[in-house]
Symmetry: C2
Subunit: 501 residues, 2 copies
């Protein structure tokens, strides 16, 4: 039975190739998709075919691509494969596209995920020509049942001149009711307070709206989301999870946090996920979550009854986790709510709710600056994502990483990070498998002592200590944040030169 129950929109049914033909070279295209969930499965592939053909004819065919966050091989991979992207924002994790970005072929605008929608509304990115949005169903009245992510879908549907819908029958029809699409947003000076005071409060509609006159094609698909096998937590991840859970226990005991904690945000990755696993066996009850992405660990906590509910913008599940969700979709209704990413990550809400933010990092320096996005200063890994939205406004933030990478050739604790995504003013707690450094309320010098003593790997500890000592001695009149500028990035430079720091 068709998922397209609206007579007006049913008449726009088209093939993926027909829909792709409506995209012109040079267009800016907004797509659905966040962490591999809810991206359009068919039209971008058909568009890549068109681009391939155009290239074979010696024609140029590139577009700018705007998403929620990361998509899947059928979007970024396919379009990268035919060199079809000139610009990409605000986030990507596709390895093929990453190579093109790092080759300087694609302009990548790596932005805070809560900023993308409003910057589009402000006109900072120019016009949006086409939106390609995956949905679970089109209701008789033309309202859209969203899919497994909301991301920037509302904004793209409203801003685009033309809209292509992909109706994916693989998505459970039961997704109806899982969404809360806030329609109270506006552009200054017309903004009003967002009246949300609890992670699960509904402030919007369960449906996306679309102006039917803009819908140029409705394409039926049946294809799964991308899902990524999740690494089984290793000893290091478990060690970091234990440190973090113990710290939360300590904060509760000190009266700095309620016994049921505060709403949890957990970044994508196996260590943040391991922390959720760590909470499974901890004593905390009645947990809540106000986060970006629902990984397996949150599902486990829900299933165990430790977590009462979770608000997010998307799923990021393993194959097993995805199957578990699909098999029991009804049981999660009312306990899982998906929001637009400008709401899930909104500074106003993150600060009001007092979120506990747990995010991975590439490296941190001894003074507490954190690099989330760049390898050795120049090559993008994925991007800042939502980490800045949450960390800056959190009640308490954690950044976690193994203390070593590349078999010990890289220390993730360095004299100076090679790129700053989170400044020394913003970082509360660093955790590696070596230990935890609580940096709250400390001066840079005190931070350095703690980070070196607690987080650095013993193989690098003495050299870091030596760096600080020499930096202090070198400029007695500049000891607020002692640095040796000739050496500050020397560890990274040595790695590039010699393959080890």
């Amino acid at each position: 039975m068709s998922r397209i129950s609206c007579p007006v929109l049913a008449r726009r049914t088209a093939s993926a190739a027909e829909a792709a033909a409506l995209v012109r070279p040079g267009d800016s295209v907004g797509i659905s998709g966040f962490t591999g969930a809810g991206f359009p499965k068919a039209v971008p592939v058909a568009l890549a075919d068109r681009m391939q053909a155009a290239r074979a004819r010696g024609e140029d065919f590139q577009i700018g691509l705007w998403s929620g966050a990361s998509t899947g091989p059928a979007v970024d991979g396919a379009l990268a494969g035919v060199h079809g992207l000139s610009k990409r924002l605000p986030y990507n994790s596709d390895p093929d596209l990453r190579r093109l970005i790092n080759a300087g072929e694609v302009d990548y605008v790596d932005a805070h995920l809560s900023h993308a929608a409003q910057q589009a509304w402000f006109g900072f990115y120019g016009d949006l020509d086409v939106a390609i949005i995956e949905v679970a169903a089109v209701l008789p009245n033309g309202l859209l049942v969203p899919g497994t992510s909301l991301g920037n879908n509302k904004t793209w549907l409203e801003r685009a001149h033309k809209v292509v819908l992909e109706v994916n029958s693989w998505l459970p029809r039961d997704l109806e009711g899982f969404h809360d699409v806030y329609y109270g947003a506006a552009v200054p000076p017309h903004r009003i307070p967002i009246q949300l005071t609890h992670p699960m409060q509904r402030i919007g509609d369960p449906y996306l709206r679309v102006d039917p006159s803009k819908v140029v094609a409705v394409v039926e698909t049946h294809a799964p989301d991308r899902n990524s096998p999740l690494d089984e937590p290793d000893d290091n991840s478990r060690a970091m999870a234990a440190l973090l859970v113990d710290f939360l226990r300590h904060e509760v005991a000190a009266g700095r946090m309620p016994p049921g904690l505060l709403p949890l945000q957990s970044g994508v990755g196996s260590t943040p996920n391991a922390v959720m696993e760590g909470l499974l066996t901890a004593e905390f009850e009645g947990l809540t979550s106000f986060t970006e992405v629902i990984q397996d660990g949150l599902l486990d906590l829900l299933d165990a009854g430790k977590l009462t509910s979770v608000s997010a913008t998307s799923f990021g599940l393993s194959p097993a986790g995805q199957q578990r969700f699909l098999d029991n979709v009804g049981s999660y209704k009312g306990r899982v709510l998906l929001r637009s990413q400008d709401i899930s990550n909104h500074p106003e809400l993150v600060r009001r709710l007092g979120v506990i933010a747990i995010n991975g990092m590439i490296e941190a320096d001894i003074y507490g600056n954190v690099n989330s996005s760049h390898v050795m200063g120049s090559a993008i890994m994925n991007g800042v994502g939502g980490s800045g939205d949450f960390a800056r406004n959190a009640y308490l933030n954690f950044f976690v990483s193994d203390s070593l990478a590349k078999g010990g050739a890289i220390s993730s604790i360095v004299p100076m990070v090679s790129h700053v995504d989170h400044t020394e003013h913003d970082v509360h707690v660093l955790i590696t498998e070596q230990g935890l450094a609580d940096l709250r309320g400390l001066s840079p010098t005190d931070r350095a002592d703690r980070v070196i003593a607690h987080c650095a790997h013993p193989d690098y500890r003495d050299r870091l200590r030596d760096y600080v000592d020499r930096a202090r001695a070198a400029r007695p009149e500049a000891r607020h944040t002692p640095h040796l500028l000739d050496e500050a990035l020397g560890w990274h430079a040595a790695y590039l030169r010699e393959g080890r720091m």
Copy 2:
């Protein structure tokens, strides 16, 4: 006639020396004061005398000092002079104290100004032993008429175990009615939306409250605020102001901003102030301001009727500006509103209102990272202040600086900043006297092109271009943010070694 009309509190009248005797070595002391306005004039000086005497006896006497922002010589200067501070937060601009911080003698916690109050409430800084708060009057019912700044006064009054009030009869008694102290704040999970939708909306009370049982001393003073002569705008400042005003004009014409603009925030300094002067002769009418500090330029705009009103947390006036305000205090009532700094700088409100943020900087790099706080990576200048609160959440932000410093020995546009306060994800527009670089929606490579072409001084432009070209060539697989890590901070290192970049 006494300003202390409350019989209960009148009985606590004491001398500054008596009040200072209530502060113990090792105490954490919260004081009023922001940009040299509203700091206590007498008790810290008396405390410094006590410390001096203690030192003469061979005893140690240091305290931790928490303020709103910068104070005056009678606080930071006096206490630094006797080495009386072990810790200082969240902001300082006193030259003597700066020297001690940079000598490594004082632990300085340089924090976002909207974060300080909540981090105190969260317990991140430990207990607050004493608050020393300047007010304009004590009403018969015990309510306090605040002075020329609100800063963190509400929080210090509520958090401190003991309270010392300084009632300064130099302050105009007419300050009554200029304040809006928000009493709806809470700690998560009890926070609610802040119901403010216009810069001048009142959401609080005109008075500060204090628990009379905590008031251990009330000291009468008669002493002026610090005021700093403001540099007459030079040609560079005027050039930058003209560029900025012209850009706003351009944004209005493009439909990206209403004709009356959006609420203005202007950082402390002569260039931001010159921008306000530039607006005096521009065509914009009905301007509003949601800012931290009221400098002369805003007063000029108010007097000219261009600016309808201004919301801030403090004044930062020149001697002439101060006199003008004092002489006409009644005429500003209803057009000037002072708020607590966690409200004046609140991310929720800055984002909702869509503030236009204009702040000075020390340096920017070609990729749009900005350093607001550190000289050559290690020595603190003042601190990040409120620049991060505003820039991150602004509708549009500008960072302004001369392209050269030290007679050309320093370029304020560098390959890589020596300290990051505002990341590449956060900076919209850079301005020097050379030109303006609009970085919105650009990739790092495109940003570098614009910053070098428009903002760098011609004397440094070729070397910057050469740096980027060589960085791109050196690592063809790492061209997202091309850097040469051996050279990235080499300009700063050269300056330290040779006195020029």
